[in-house]
Structures are given as structure tokens and as C-alpha cells.
């Protein structure tokens, strides 16, 4: 995604383009907040909105020019906006959140969407034959590492990565077609 376009659009007052580009990244930023903090979907949305208000002003003031800097601002700024809103409401909660350990596997379960799961379950059955064997193996061994896949199929570890990557890509494309 070309963030220099966002910088240009803000500087030129092209609100339509700004709105379009911000919408594109908002979903990812909300998921980041849900996965990496205790934010609810509503809190996450609120924090993202506040971040954009802050960042867009920074761009207008010429304080953010490079797209790479913009990405860092977006991530940190969203977290900052969330913690600021907590601080404004409950200091005790803020302390707990600031010292929360980094994400464990359980935290990411908050990103699971039941509807998406249903679509993927259907898509799994449409996998091409070559990928079904690997997917079948992963159903029996959900935590298998690439080394395990390589050993089972008698292929190199690199090939194991490649095959698994292609299974996931096939599933993603199928899920996109079923939206």
C-alpha cells in the first residue's frame, strides 16, 4: 500500500482519498489493538479514529513526511490513544494494561471470526488434491512445525514452508471468492 498517497492527499486537502485510504488500514489497526491490548472492538475503533485525527494534523503541519514514519506513528499512536482514554477514566486499569505481558497464543483467539471459520471449512473441502494431503496432515497435527511436515512428506524444510504457504493462499483466495 502506497502511504505517500495518503501524505499527498492530506497535504492537498483531498478528503475523499484520505477517507478511502484511512478506511483501508483502519481494519488492520483495529485488529492490532484487539490482539495486542485489552481493547474491545468499540475501544479499538475509537482509538484508531483518534489516532487518525492526530496523525493527519501532524501531516498537515509537515511533521510527518516519510511513509515509513507514518506506519510507526499509526501503530504507536493508536495504542497511545487507547491508553490515554484509559488514563482519563481509570488510573488503576491503566497500570495493569501497561504491564501486560506480550501476546500469547490465547490472545490471538480474539481475532477469530465464526463466519469466516465457516467459510474456510467449506473451502478446505475444495482444496486441490496436492494440497489436501498436507491439509489433512495438519488436521491430525495442528501444531506441526515445518520440520515435521518435511519429515512426514519426505521433502525439504523449504518445500514444506512453500507447500503450507500455498495451502493458506488457496484457502484465502477461496474465502475471498465466497464473500
Amino acid at each position: 500500500m502506497d502511504y505517500s498517497e495518503l501524505v499527498r492527499a492530506v497535504q492537498e486537502g483531498d478528503e475523499r482519498t484520505v477517507s478511502r485510504l484511512c478506511s483501508k488500514v483502519s481494519e488492520i489497526l483495529k485488529k492490532y489493538m484487539i490482539a495486542e491490548t485489552e481493547a474491545s472492538p468499540e475501544d479499538a475503533e475509537d482509538a484508531v479514529q483518534k489516532m487518525f485525527e492526530y496523525v493527519i494534523q501532524k501531516i498537515r503541519n509537515g511533521e510527518i513526511k516519510r511513509p515509513k514514519a507514518l506506519l510507526a506513528y499509526m501503530l504507536k499512536g493508536t495504542k497511545h490513544a487507547y491508553y490515554k482514554s484509559l488514563r482519563d477514566s481509570d488510573l488503576h486499569e491503566l497500570d495493569e494494561h501497561q504491564y501486560r505481558p506480550v501476546t500469547g497464543p490465547g490472545q490471538l483467539l480474539k481475532l477469530i471470526d465464526e463466519e469466516r471459520k465457516e467459510v474456510l471449512e467449506k473451502c478446505i473441502r475444495f482444496l486441490k488434491a496436492h494440497y489436501r494431503a498436507l491439509a489433512g496432515f495438519l488436521f491430525d497435527h495442528p501444531d506441526a512445525e515445518s520440520e515435521d511436515i518435511a519429515e512426514h512428506f519426505d521433502i525439504s524444510v523449504n518445500n514444506a514452508w512453500t507447500r503450507k504457504h500455498r495451502v493458506i493462499k488457496q484457502l484465502r483466495e477461496c474465502a475471498e471468492n465466497h464473500r
Binding site: M1, L29, L108, L109, L111, I112, H130, N158, I168
Partner: protein
């Protein structure tokens, strides 16, 4: 980060193995390239589905799973699958617009004779044994029609970090194999890599070929502006594909000048 590194980081992230800094770096990659975020989501959901089936002692794809359902539930599964396919096919038929016709202009398949073959063996400063053995293996699979094995073998060559001339030819061949498998996104990636390669051994003929195939790939992906740009590049070179690119460009422009719905 390379694509491979991102995929590996996604795996580590889902396993809970990344530090806070690594997590933020990965999410920045997701912001830069939302496609990777979609892959992460798909991987996460797939693993959750797999874990749930494992807990139930079922496998929808393996022998262990085949006896888990009653005849009634299997019948319902086929009905559901057929319904989904009908809905998808019907939706595509009703929603087919002008862009859906673009793929008709593109090459259906790329002949295996277009693979960069014999000239790939020209001497270089590479490790002749590892790279050239793997190349030979990959080409053998490709000429025998074992496309999946050929793809894996060529990707192993990339991992061996060959010199530029070999690398561009391998990317060309991967593009061709993915194109013929209908995986146009992957094909586009490899044709782009072939065209962008710089260094010793780089061939303008291969660059032209990659541009021609890339233009056709963009037609399949319905990215008409990118396709036109590539065909114009091919025409400018005035090489082997000049006439074909000119003809195709004329057809696309004639189609664009027709009123919508005709």
C-alpha cells in the same frame, strides 16, 4: 523483510514466539502489504479449525475423519457444497462485467518450450554442483509435466541464491508454471522479479519475454492498465513479441472504445 521471512514470522506469531518489538514490526508489514494480513488471518483461522477437529477426534480430509459422520450428515455436506458452488457460479454469471472479458484475450497456457532451458547452464561463478543439479532436476520435472514438483525444485534454486542471469531465468520459469496452474498472482510476482533482475548474465530477450507474459497475466487479473503498460514496453523493444503485443493492444483498445453493455 522478504516474503519468506514474513511467512515465518506469522507462524512464530501464532505460536506466541515473537517479542513485543517483533510483533510491532510484523504488524507494520501488514500495514505495508495488507495481503500478508489476510494470509495471517487465514492461517490463524485454519489452525483454530484444525485444533477443534483434533479435539473432536475428527479429520474432514483424512481416513480418520471419513467415518465420523452419518450418511445423513455426509449427504447434507454435499448439498451444502453444491449450493455454495451454484451460488458462486450464478453470482459470477450475473455480475460478469466488461473486465471479465479481458482474460479471453490472454494466453490460455504458455508452452513449455518457452521455459528458459539450455542457456541456463552457461558458466558462472556459482556453485555449479548445487545450483545446476537442482536446475536440471527442476527442468526435468517441468518437461515431464510434473508442474508442482518443478515449482518446488525451482524455488529451491532461488533459495541457493544463484547469480543474476540464472535467477531471472528461474523466475521466468516459475512465472510460466504458476501461470499454467492458474495461480496468476504468483505468476505476476515471478514475471515481475524476472523483469527487475539486474546484474551479470541478464538477458534482454528474457526481459522482453517476461514483460509479454506479465501483460497476459495482468489480463487474467483484470488489471488492464498494468497490462497495457507491459504491452507498450514489449512494443517499444521491437523484438520477438512486438507483433503479438501490438495486436493484443489494438483488441483491448477496440474493446474499451465500445459502449458498455455491448
Amino acid at each position: 523483510m522478504t516474503e519468506k521471512e514474513i511467512i515465518q514470522e506469522i507462524d512464530r506469531y501464532i505460536r506466541g514466539e515473537l517479542s513485543g518489538e517483533e510483533i510491532d514490526r510484523l504488524w507494520m508489514e501488514f500495514l505495508k502489504q495488507p495481503e500478508y494480513f489476510k494470509l495471517f488471518e487465514t492461517d490463524l483461522h485454519f489452525r483454530q479449525i484444525a485444533k477443534e477437529y483434533k479435539e473432536k477426534g475428527e479429520n474432514p480430509l483424512g481416513d480418520a475423519g471419513s467415518d465420523s459422520g452419518t450418511i445423513t450428515s455426509r449427504y447434507r455436506l454435499w448439498i451444502a457444497a453444491a449450493a455454495v458452488m451454484l451460488i458462486v457460479a450464478g453470482t459470477q454469471w450475473f455480475l460478469q462485467d466488461r473486465n471479465g472479458q479481458l482474460a479471453h484475450f490472454a494466453l490460455t497456457q504458455i508452452e513449455v518450450t518457452q521455459l528458459a532451458g539450455v542457456d541456463i547452464y552457461r558458466s558462472s561463478e556459482d556453485d555449479h554442483t548445487a545450483v545446476e543439479q537442482q536446475l536440471g532436476r527442476a527442468l526435468g520435472y517441468a518437461y515431464d509435466g510434473n508442474d508442482q514438483l518443478a515449482i518446488e525444485a525451482f524455488e529451491e534454486v532461488i533459495n541457493l541464491n544463484p547469480e543474476a542471469g540464472k535467477r531471472m531465468r528461474v523466475h521466468l520459469n516459475l512465472g510460466i508454471l504458476y501461470y499454467n496452474s492458474g495461480e496468476y498472482r504468483e505468476a505476476a510476482h515471478h514475471f515481475e522479479m524476472a523483469g527487475d533482475t539486474e546484474g551479470d548474465g541478464v538477458s534482454t530477450h528474457i526481459t522482453e519475454r517476461a514483460s509479454w507474459f506479465l501483460g497476459n497475466t495482468y489480463l487474467h487479473l483484470e488489471e488492464v492498465d498494468k497490462a497495457i503498460s507491459k504491452f507498450e514496453d514489449v512494443i517499444a523493444v521491437n523484438g520477438r513479441y512486438h507483433q503479438q503485443a501490438s495486436n493484443l493492444l489494438r483488441l483491448i483498445r477496440e474493446r474499451d472504445s465500445e459502449p458498455a453493455g455491448s
